[in-house]
């Protein structure tokens, strides 16, 4: 089992006392499989994803990633984990504005110590980015930006891809096209995928789906 969550609790402090966002979450995902995480806006989907990525820590529970419990690891270890194992695609603000497309695409793979120019070339071509490699993020359309983000994540061949409404900022046609690309490329690399979405239509295209409501999975 690549990913296993056990009894995860998460609170946010708010003005009206702590907000119990996640309440005893159990979840697992096998290598090479894809899982959709759905739920209303504000139900805690992003929070869950951030915990899995090691970007934030839960108040209780265990997160086993590739066999190790990442809860309680220090900053440095979590950063190393993000480099080595995880790939992230957010809805927006994915890219490094001061680097051009080529450098953005290669960044994570190089950071992780797994540069692979041949694979990068394939990715750029498949993602339709070959013509815009010297542009900067602000000179790209939203759809192009998302494709760069996907390419960058997959270039590093992570074992787990985490995507938070990767097409939420795009119109439907573009979103579908981008998602198609992502799903087939993820399948080719053999990575597992955990994708947050609030669209049933998109969720149905993955191997499995879970629904988050009132802090619990249903």
């Amino acid at each position: 089992m690549l990913l296993r969550l056990h009894q995860i609790d998460k609170f946010y402090p708010t003005g009206e006392g702590p907000l119990h966002v996640l309440n005893g979450i159990d979840l697992s995902l096998e290598a090479g499989k894809s899982l959709a995480l759905t739920g209303e806006s504000g139900s805690g989907k992003s929070t869950l994803l951030h915990l899995v990525a090691g970007l934030d820590s839960p108040d209780a529970g265990e997160i086993h990633l590739g066999g190790t419990n990442i809860v309680g690891l220090n900053d440095t270890a979590l950063a190393a984990l993000r480099r080595a194992t995880v790939g992230l695609v957010f809805q927006q603000f994915n890219l490094i504005p001061s680097l051009d497309v080529a450098a953005n695409l290669a960044f994570q793979a190089r950071l992780a110590g797994r540069p692979d120019p041949a694979w990068l070339k394939v990715l750029a071509k498949r993602l339709g980015l070959a013509q815009v490699l010297t542009r900067y993020p602000e000179q790209l359309s939203a759809g192009q930006q998302q494709r760069v983000a996907i390419g960058r994540t997959l270039a590093a061949r992570p074992r787990l891809v985490l995507a938070d409404e990767p097409t939420g900022n795009l119109d439907e046609a573009t979103g579908d096209a981008v998602l198609d690309l992502m799903l087939s490329l993820v399948a080719e690399t053999g990575a597992a995928l955990l994708m947050v979405t609030h669209s049933n239509r998109l969720a149905n295209r993955l191997n499995a789906r879970v629904h988050l409501h009132a802090g619990r999975l249903v």
Binding site: Y12, S41, S46, H50, A53, L55, D56, S57, D75, T76, L78, A79, A80, L81, R82, R83, A84, L88, F90, Q91, Q92, F93, N94, L95, I96, P97, S98, L99, A103, A106, F107, Q108, R110, L111, A112, D164, E165, G168
Partner: protein
Amino acid sequence: MVWTGLTALLSHWRRRPVQLAMLLLGLSLATALWSAVQAINGEARASYDRAAAILGQDRLAQLVREDGARMDQQVFVRLRRAGWLVSPVIEGEMRFGDVRLRVLGIDPLTLPPQAQQVNVAVGDELLPFITAPGVLYAAPETATRLTEQATPPVRVAEGLPPGTVLTDIGQAQVLLGAKDKISRLLLWPDQPIGRAPLKVTAPGLTLRQPSETGDLARLTDSFHLNLTAFGFLAFAVGLFIVHSAIGLAFEQRRQVFRTLRALGLPARVLVLLLIAELLIFALLAGLVGVALGYVVASALLPDVAATLRGLYGADVPGTLSIRPAVWAAGLAIAVIGTLVAAAQSLWRLWHLPLLAAAQPRAWARASERALRAQGVAAMVLLLTAAGIAQFGSGLEAGFALLAALLLGAALALPLVLTGILQLGGRLVRGPLAEWFWADTRQQLPGLSLALMALLLALAANVGVSTMVSSFRLTFTGWLDQRLAAELYVTARTEAEATAIHDWLAQRSDAVLPIWSVEGRVAGQPAAIYGVADHATYRDNWPILSAVPEVWDRIAAGDGALINEQLARRQELGLGDQITLPGGWRASIVGVYSDYGNPIGQVIIGIDTLVQHYPDVSRLRYAIRIAPGKAEALAAGLRAQFGLPAQNVIDQAGIKVFSLKVFERTFRVTAALNVLTLGVAGLAMFASLMTLSGMRLPQLAPVWAMGLTRRHLAWLELSRGLLLAALTMLAAVPVGIALAFVLLAVVNVEAFGWRLPMHLFPGDWARLAALALLAAGLAAAAPAWRLARLSPSDLLKVFAHER
């Protein structure tokens, strides 16, 4: 509506107290440095005016000799008999112990009412005034300095310039050793008709019209211009802070502006409200700034006063008085500065389309075109500087050259840094290093104002310290040459002087007279010295240029040496003729350097001096003796003649004193320099703080991809250091150019001497360390904040609401 608008606008500052503090601090510091300089200048000018107004010189015409020498008292008698209403005045310098004073002798019976400085002609005051030993009137400060000295009775009189005593002409003639001599004649405003013409009664005299500004004001003009230039530089550097704080506050309130506009507030009213807000801040910061300026000024004034005394013989009191003009000027400059700094933001607001989308980073992302325009402006300014250097002349041209050079360099800086960062990015390997350089380059537009301020401060520092150190090196070498004699002795009377001379004849290697008269040469005040024909001068005198066998010609009474400042100011060269006091002429056979002397100087043979000026006071001698025996001889001299300690001075004593004067001279500029650097550091801090809030979207993806916050914070800190280091590198050549202009143009115009330039890389290293420290401190707070940022703050970047 208007009130609601104003409260809505002002509420911004309540939520961002640091930003408000930066704005007010920048403005008050800028105003403070500016006002400090104004207060110092104002104090000095007031005392020059007092000096110029003494005896009504600013209102009364006078009769003087063309060559500035003293005239016989007989001339006065003749003019009175011919019907002229004139009053005699004698003026001269003398020492009471170690206090050097200007002595003014007046005739209370004929003095015009306009010249009445002190009313001595009433009741019991007159008799003691005109009979021996007389009475000295002096300003309170001067009177205090005289309490220890043996002088005639001293009375306090307000309104006299410091360092001046007023006494009866008869007493003054005795004190100055100038029996039956007078310096000038004051003319009553209304003269009787039918008096004999001047040419007939008193040939050789000319009429000098009343003048508002004395010699002092003219001599010291350049010094004050210098200070003003520095004050202005500091002010400009401070405005960089204000500009960036205002720009940020406007950008962050775009949403508020739009809402207010949408609610029906006209653009005109909105702009007026914002101007009102800025005016409130400007007045507030202006008040604090002027008050702070007074603190700075009173800390600096003693040094300035010492400088003016040492360099120009100008007496300026060491304490400040509060001047309304300084307050008004300080507040005005604060308001003007604020409006200048806000002009761009106000202009943009005026043109803000009602529905334009907010672009929080738009102002930070200067377009390529703006950068190019800036580059063109920099080129134009630098070319202008080169043009002025080639064709300009005069002190104003010198300062225009400095301004064009500094501004051009500052404008060119972002372009230069962009180039360097681009190159650096190409040279490094590895994703983080590449990102670091690329990202640093992207930060430039937001930081360029602060970096320009830093460049100005650093370049000014390099320039001024290079000038001062070059000057110090030259000056010390020059002192060694100039002060070749081992001992200097001053007798109290001529009889004593003769006795001392005879006593020394067998006990020393040589006794060389230092005798001089004062007068005007080529229209400016000068001293004429006679020198003996001796190896002391032949071997050591700091000659800049001379004809062959120059000392033989001086000894033969054939020719004169003049100092550099006289040569430069009057454009005199070898072979030119000058007219000396008394009307005789001599040809220039050499020019020598004479640093630190405000007036002109002429050297002729001692015999020639005595022949033309038989009345010359013969009190001072230089003594040559083996250095090891000097101390014993000095003690012997004092014991033999009962001379006060300060009448026998050794070489080392004078050197120490001269160097002390020298160091004090530049302490003020050094202090202004350090303050300017501090302001620049603050500008950098303000910008970095500002940017750090907008940095998160740029940093968050890198963090998500596997960097710790600590690592990112270190990189941010290094970024600040890198930029400061690069700016320092750029500042060195600019500073050297600045030093060159100061040494080769401004000093020549201001003081009349040109100095060779020496470079001191050690100083630069120290300055670089200081700059890095300032940048490190400025970058530390934002970096620290980043390191401690909670993950959820970073995650907000990716949250959907944005």
